[in-house]
Amino acid sequence: MSRTGWVVLVIEDEVPIRRFLKAALEGQGFKLLEARTGTQGLSLAASHNPDIILLDLGLPDVDGLEVIKGVRAWTRTPIIIISARGQDADKIAGLDAGADDYLTKPFSVEELAARMRVAIRHLSQSPLAKEEPVFQTGELKVDLARRLVWVAGEEVHLTPIEFKLLAALVRHSGKVVTQGQLLRQVWGQAAEEQAHYLRNYIHMLRHKLEADPARPVYLRTDPGVGYRLKCRD
């Protein structure tokens, strides 16, 4: 994918971080818009219609969550949260409010680039576009239409719920999916007491899909937040 011309809106009050993002992103051909406050960020988002938004949760004027809700009110522009450590609850709230992914400070340029790549790819295949029926990453192959799964060329039998769970992860491959989102998408509602069912099914999926379930390659845990399926090749 060509990155030239993509417009990135950075909503961040810390100068050193903005300086680092500017150096890193402009070097890769992105165009940068900078906002120091949430209000400024919202108005820039409305006026310039950026392709992707990087949002710091600790803003001086408004709660980052309000910015996400404000943006989501009118556009599906990908939002990547940038948060400090120990803000798990805020991260989850942000993701559930419609943010696409998150990064925890400190993060490297590679991580940032990977997250942005995934977010932009997901945007390009909006639900209006037809879903690619076959998903492949490494040795794992999933045929969503025919409900078939292969690992290293061998077919793997999944129960209906296991498949539903895997399909939900496939649709967001590369992005983190919170426990609440998975529960809603697979079981229909985010019942807290069902959280350990979810973990149980993830456990069983890993034993069916991973070569070493204790060192998962495809189905990874973001502790305290949710799960992330390795992104499409």
Binding site: R85, R199, N200, I202, A214, R215
Partner: protein
Amino acid sequence: MDASGNPGERLLVCVGPSPASPALIRTVADMAAASGAEWYAVYAENPRMLRLPDAERTRAVYNLRLAEKLGAETVTLRGRSIGEEIVNFARQRHITRIIAGKPTPRPRWREILSRSPLEELLPLSGDLKVYVLSGKEAALPEAAVPVEPKRLRWSGHEEGLLYLILATAICFLMYPYFDLPNLIMVFLLEVMVTAVQCGRGPAILNSLLSVLIFDFCFVPPRWSFTVEEAKYLVTFVVMFLVAGVIGHLAALIKRQAEAARLHERQTAAMYALSRQLAGTRGAVEILQVAVEQISQIFECQAVALLPDDKGRLHPAVGVLSAVFQKDMVKELGLAQWAYEAGRMAGWGTPNHPDSPILYVPLPATAAILGILALRPKDPEAENWLLPEQLRLRLLESLAKQVALALAVEGLQKAALSAQVAAESERLRTSLLSSVTHDLQTPLAAIVGSASSLLQGQLAAPVAREMLTNIYDEAERLSRLINNLLNMAKLESGSLKLHEELQPLEEVVGAALNRLEKQLSARPVEVSLPPDLPMVPLDGALAEQIFINLLENACRYTPPGSPILIAARAQEDHLEVEVADRGPGFSPEDLAKIFEMYYRGTRAQEARGYGLGLAICRAVVEAHGGRIWAENREGGGAAMRFTLPLTAPEK
């Protein structure tokens, strides 16, 4: 007698139910205070005194309490002879002076028949100095317990009559076949039974009636009170006297046995309470035990009231509605009075004797800690505490015991928090020096490397080395800050565990993923049985345990040496192990390794932060498990910890 005494003196004042006693007690209290002498107030009871009207015995108890309040050590003695008991006690305690009140005037016939306690005392006293004071009558305690003296116990007399009728009937059956003396035996037996069952009054009445019935029904001529032969007159007199004495003795024995039983019950109650209190921690638990025991011993409903910061009483333990059935505001007011005055109030006391509830303060050395409110289960039992006046004293000593337990509890708490404060002060100092050092080292490296880059003119490989240095040191700083954050939260207790049932594999997997780079060059064996049960864990914190343990293993072992992660299920917990094949621990390390900012003796060259293992311990303990270090067989270190399969109670 001179009122001033010498220090080192021990005074003993004899306390009785006499209205003059309080004045005597006050005089002795003044004497003791003037000379700084220790003093005892002794109430001695002989079996005869157990027959005193309840009001009198109550007065004796109140007098004893007065003495106690004035600083005396109070003692109740029991025995056949009051004088003997007091003298024995005085010798045991090395009493120097015995002080008694002038005996109250008694009817002449009684003076002839029996000696007063004082008369018993004097010949026995020997070298002991005995003083007799003529106290003025004090007005106060007359109305101390305004409960009416016990009325005649009609039920006792009725029961006595029943025995009499029964004996008469038996005699009628025996009359045709037995001689008259045998019938006398039946009546004597009947009088004795009456004495034991109903007391002295009915027994004496029955002995008189028995003689009359014997005369009327059996002695010839029958059915008349006249007597044929004079010898029967002697029989009647002897029969009456024997019956009377038997009845009297039997009743006496019964009272003594009752007194002994009561004494035993009280001792047992005290013992049971103190034993239970000794094994109880926490103010509420202590009061729980006290309320349970006291409501059992005294057959009452009990509530413990504790003061808040402003000194207002609030119910702490017990069923409030069972005790305060009506007039709640008035009753609580009375409780408040008892608390502020530090005296008993309510039922049967000078203050509001008409209240159905008795308020007993819990007195500690410095203050009253609370109030026990007691309501008799049987509201009709006006003799609830009275038949055995000494129960009131028992109640007071039980209250003291409870107060003592509460006070000890308070002191322990204070000592503990002082210890905690000192400990956290020590930690703060240690933290400051350690963190200053640990933060400055990577910062110095970063600043140094960056400044040399800024100066430019570095060869490309050197510049790259500088950059790598900056990157590594920054990552190290980040980990340190992360650990510090977690530790601070765990230490301050503000971090709430977010425990969810999950497979251990998930947490291990997350940690291994996070450390992918560091572990890439090492064989890591993960041995988790497939049937390992799920365990309640805070995912993020538990991951930190593995990250810290794995990082340590990497730091202290040569590159490329293997690491093992294993777990197995025990009865009610998982035992988890992270082991390496490095140099292992020195014996000194094994004990201290989990202390904050401790660094292993072999860790001088490797740079650590002394925080990692302390966090592991804090997290494991927060989950209700424990962690320890071992040296592996065949070399290397093993860190083992347990995780309970059920979440700890919060």
